[in-house]
């Protein structure tokens, strides 16, 4: 097995091979948890931990997993990580775990996690898989945070719950964009991000 360029393995999924904006995976959760920046950050962190650790575990097990049940084994590993993260959040940051409610549990079904295990971890050494999982988690989180930034700022006039747009603007007739709070706007923002990225990185454009 050839040696991996760990930096490349880590950085590629953040920019050039971003799971959301390039692979267009994990869209559902990015619509659901990006209303507030705080929730998006915790979600990003949770997904990063889950992808990194489950890629690591799956990679450690890769030579022992019976081929016929490998998807089930992957699912068990991912589910284990997700439940652990959920339990820890409930114990230590209860208020955040309440805002995210079911979406933490739904990380199990996030295509990014399973996708990376199937496509990368099962064929690579543990450390490389760990870096790949970490990179994908951060790449996912980055998009989440960008979308949440615009949605919270324009939709509620706050960031992390702090008022950014001053009250005096509202007195002058400024209004929060109610559409920003609803899921469709996340999809439109996501479209804008993909558009922007493909205009800069021309090699991503499909012929």
């Amino acid at each position: 097995m050839k040696d991996f360029d760990f930096k490349e393995t880590f950085l590629n999924p953040i920019f050039k091979g971003n799971p959301i904006s390039v692979l267009v995976l994990g869209i559902c959760s990015s619509l659901a948890v990006t209303v507030q920046l705080k929730g998006a950050c915790v979600m990003a962190l949770s997904v990063t931990i889950v992808t990194a650790l489950s890629s690591l575990v799956a990679s450690l097990l890769r030579n022992t997993i019976p081929n016929r049940i490998r998807i089930i084994v992957q699912l068990v590993v991912v589910a284990l990580m997700v439940i652990l993260v959920d339990q820890v959040l409930k114990a230590y940051v209860y208020s955040v775990s309440k805002t995210l409610s079911v979406y933490i549990g739904l990380i199990i079904t996030n295509c990014i996690v399973m996708g990376r295990i199937e496509a990368f971890a099962l064929g690579n050494k543990p450390f490389a898989s760990f870096m790949d999982g970490l990179g994908n988690g951060i790449g996912y989180g980055l998009i989440l945070v960008i979308v949440a930034f615009f949605r919270e700022l324009l939709g509620s006039g706050t960031l992390f719950g702090f008022r950014i747009i001053p009250e005096s603007f509202y007195d002058l007739g400024y209004m929060n964009n109610g559409l920003m709070i609803l899921p469709p706007m996340a999809l439109i923002l996501l479209g804008c991000i993909i558009w922007a990225q493909r205009s800069i990185q021309k090699e991503l454009q499909e012929k």
Binding site: V35, N67, I69, V77, L80, K90, A91
Partner: protein, 284 residues
């Protein structure tokens, strides 16, 4: 080794599942006390926040030790049934903070299931209700906090209403929800909405309280709904209406008892005064 043989596959999956189950069981056991503590703390915070709205001098911030404050303010915590009879006592944690007992949302849900059965006209279950009541002393005023619980748009919504001594006037309210739409229904937890409640009064009969679309227009037993969140608003109105109905027997009994006690005290005072006067007269 042939990793594709049936025996290997079966043994592999069995071992995997057992190991994973063991890890999860261990994690759940280790974290359970903290999770329960969080749930309890949240309930206590909400009870206190509702009660504290009756007095501007009492404030609760992120740094407040809610457990200590609760123990300091609470004077009585117990359950009542639908007929207004006292049923059981809750530990108020006066001796040990860790022993505070509160009714969490899970308990409220059970009660709500019974209430739903009663509403549907099934059997007489009034006496099997166990509704929690918290009596707090906020700067000398006796505030009774009663919860409510019901279905919102996406999931359960619940809240705590602080009621003054007359058993009718609302002194404060705190609401919470599991999964209402952020920015719309979820606004029931915000101050602008909860701030409408102090000073309102429960009405009589079936129309005890309402969250009104288009504005309550100064009605005593209604508040304005949240625009864009009609279903959550109406559900909240219905929840308050229903739960307050089952608390009514207790609240009116308690208020009557208090009034009787106050009258008795006044009468006694008057009698004592008269007696004192009489003795004075005799002495003259």
């Amino acid at each position: 080794m042939n990793t594709n043989s049936n025996t290997y596959t079966v043994i592999y999956s069995t071992v995997l599942v057992v190991v994973v189950a063991a890890v999860l069981a261990f994690a759940a056991m280790a974290l359970k006390p903290m999770q329960d503590e969080n749930v309890k703390k949240e309930t206590i915070t909400q009870v206190l926040t509702a009660a504290a709205q009756s007095d501007a001098d009492v404030t609760i911030s992120e740094d407040t030790n809610v457990m200590e404050m609760y123990v300091e303010k609470i004077t009585d915590a117990f359950y009542v049934d639908g007929n207004g009879n006292r049923k059981g006592q809750m530990n108020m944690g006066k001796e040990d903070l860790n022993k505070i007992q509160v009714a969490t949302t899970a308990d409220l849900k059970n009660q709500n299931d019974i209430i739903k059965k009663i509403e549907a006209g099934q059997a007489d279950l009034l006496s099997s209700l166990e509704l929690p009541v918290y009596v707090l002393d906020i700067n000398g005023k006796e505030i009774t906090v009663i919860p409510c619980y019901g279905a919102g748009l996406w999931g359960p919504i619940w809240g705590y209403l602080a009621v003054t001594e007359d058993g009718k006037t609302i002194a404060g309210a705190v609401f919470d929800h599991k999964s209402e739409t952020p920015g719309l229904g979820a606004k029931i937890t915000e101050d602008f909405f909860q701030g409408q409640f102090p000073g309102k009064k429960f009405g009589e009969g079936e129309e005890r309280f309402a969250v009104v679309k288009g504005g309550a227009k100064g009605a005593e037993n209604g508040v304005d709904a949240i625009s864009g969140a009609t279903i959550t608003s109406q559900a909240l109105g219905k929840t308050i209406n229903t739960w307050s109905k089952y608390y009514e027997p207790y609240l009116s009994k308690a208020a009557a008892a208090k009034q009787a006690a106050a009258e008795m005290a006044a009468a006694q005072e008057a009698a004592e005064e008269a007696e004192a006067e009489e003795t004075e007269n005799v002495e003259e």
